[in-house]
């Protein structure tokens, strides 16, 4: 692996096979990765965790995989499952990324954010939650990219069917996901912001 992220420090939040792959790729590219202890519903701890991280040297990358969303059909998804699997996901991403940026602004530093999320496959039953999250986060990325562009903070997303384990028939998409994420987060991706991309979604 090429040392695209030497000296960078990344906060890793959320879950999914994609997160594990990207963390390994980041470390291989020279970044240090710290796992967030925040769990869905633990919004009250976000500010304290971020404050502690910045007091301990700071982070300049945030990667968020969200929560594991439900794969139930819409009519079978109760309100609690909906809130746990959709509201918790988009809330957590929003709250952690905005807190990250607030700290970056105070520190006078730039940063890179990458959201990893499932690809929306509206033709398949059971993707209502994924489709909702992907829609929300996709447009969140596009909005925040402009809000934070002149602060030196970039934000992008990779929406892929390999976000959760078992969705790929070979290792290539996951391996390339790691490379793509690393490249986008590095200074070689400095002109990429507000982009929502896939890996192999056709």
């Amino acid at each position: 692996m090429t040392p695209w992220l030497t000296g960078r420090r990344a906060l890793i939040a959320g879950e999914g096979a994609a997160i594990d792959v990207v963390v390994a790729a980041l470390q291989s590219a020279g970044a240090k990765a710290v796992r967030s202890s925040i769990v869905p519903g633990g919004d009250d701890g976000i500010a304290a965790e971020m404050a502690a991280l910045f007091e301990a040297g700071g982070v300049d990358i945030l990667i968020h995989g969200g929560t594991r969303v439900t794969t139930l059909a819409a009519v079978e998804t109760g309100s609690d499952a909906w809130r746990d699997g959709v509201s918790a996901d988009i809330d957590l991403r929003f709250l952690q990324s905005t807190e990250f940026v607030r700290r970056c602004l105070v520190a006078g530093q730039g940063g890179s954010i990458l959201f990893l999320m499932p690809a929306a496959l509206p033709q398949a039953t059971g993707y209502i939650a994924a489709a909702t999250v992907t829609g929300a986060i996709g447009n969140l990325v596009k909005s925040l990219a402009v809000e934070w562009a002149r602060d030196g903070i970039r934000i992008n997303a990779i929406a892929t069917r390999v976000h959760h384990a078992g969705a790929a028939d070979n290792d290539a998409p996951l391996a390339s996901l790691g490379h793509l994420a690393t490249y986008i987060l590095s200074d070689y991706g400095a002109y990429i912001s507000g982009a929502v991309m896939g890996v192999d979604e056709t």
Partner: protein, 291 residues
């Protein structure tokens, strides 16, 4: 309020992201590779070790591209062809493969563009822009794929599209249609050629000024163009070229059918309230004015 106004500088060309042998043994055919964005692709591919066949309608321009590659220490040839002519494309591949070996990478860059209102556009103008981008991409891609399939080998295609493919582009209907067609073609061809391990990807590029740009490429123009863009600057050609090389490399073995936008978030700038709408036909400058 905390205000940072940080500019994210591009890495210089002589600090590439890839090792010099990443594409060693690969042969890349780049259409329109003698200048502008095609040359940006060609230089980045050559910097990573690929041999380059530069295809263009102008031999002199293609030859200038070859000299640019050779100045990097790379190997390249110039081939004259019009991408709208399937027979000429087949001949270009023949020449490239006779000189360099089997073509394993195709960069579809050839294109043209100029501001014109649709109702003032001649049929020839419409055909020139759409057929170079749409027909040219299709003819070159299918020629490439037939050869790769016959050889039993994998391959990679990268298409040069534009960041306005999702919004349309008033005053540029020919290119807006053509570039969106290329993105659609990317996904369809990726699916069709997946069994043959031929990957097809696309880049939706924003402002990457070069000497042939309509707006110009001097320092003041670049500065003023940069003021329009959320990230605060125009793109540097190596950033576009390197993304092209990435998509054609082993780093992207699992990536196909995708369109990746690189535009400094330019396409996303909007306000709910803005100036009065000015119909394109009433504008002093059809594409607008730089700040």
């Amino acid at each position: 309020m905390v205000t940072c106004h940080k500019s994210l500088a591009a890495k210089p060309f002589d600090q590439p992201p890839f090792p010099p042998d990443l594409l060693a043994g690969e042969i890349a055919l780049v259409t329109g590779g003698g200048s502008g964005m095609g040359l940006g692709m060609a230089r980045a591919l050559a910097q990573s070790g690929a041999a380059i066949a530069i295809v263009g309608r102008s031999f002199d321009r293609a030859r200038a591209g070859v000299e640019a590659i050779e100045a990097l220490g790379g190997r390249a040839i110039a081939v004259t062809a019009d991408v709208r002519d399937p027979a000429a494309i087949a001949d270009a591949f023949e020449q490239a493969e006779a000189a360099l070996g089997p073509v394993t990478i195709l960069a579809n860059n050839a294109g043209g563009n100029f501001p014109v209102l649709a109702d003032a556009m001649s049929a020839n103008a419409w055909r020139a822009v759409t057929r170079i981008a749409i027909d040219g991409t299709f003819f070159c891609s299918t020629e490439f794929a037939r050869r790769r399939i016959a050889a039993g080998g994998a391959g990679a295609i990268v298409n040069n599209s534009a960041q306005y493919i999702w919004s349309g582009f008033p005053g540029d209907a020919h290119s807006a249609s053509a570039k969106a067609a290329v993105a659609g073609m990317t996904a369809a061809l990726a699916r069709e050629w997946r069994p043959h391990r031929i990957r097809v990807n696309c880049i939706a590029a924003g402002f990457f000024p070069h000497d042939g740009s309509t707006e110009g490429n001097d320092a003041d123009t670049r500065r003023r163009l940069g003021m329009m863009i959320p990230l605060g600057r125009v793109g540097e050609m190596q950033e576009f070229g390197w993304l092209s090389a990435f998509l054609c490399s082993s780093f992207a073995t699992g990536i196909t059918g995708e369109t990746i936008v690189i535009d400094g978030a330019e396409r996303l700038r909007r306000s709910l309230l803005t100036g009065a709408f000015e119909p394109p036909r009433e504008r002093a400058a059809l594409w607008g004015r730089m700040p």
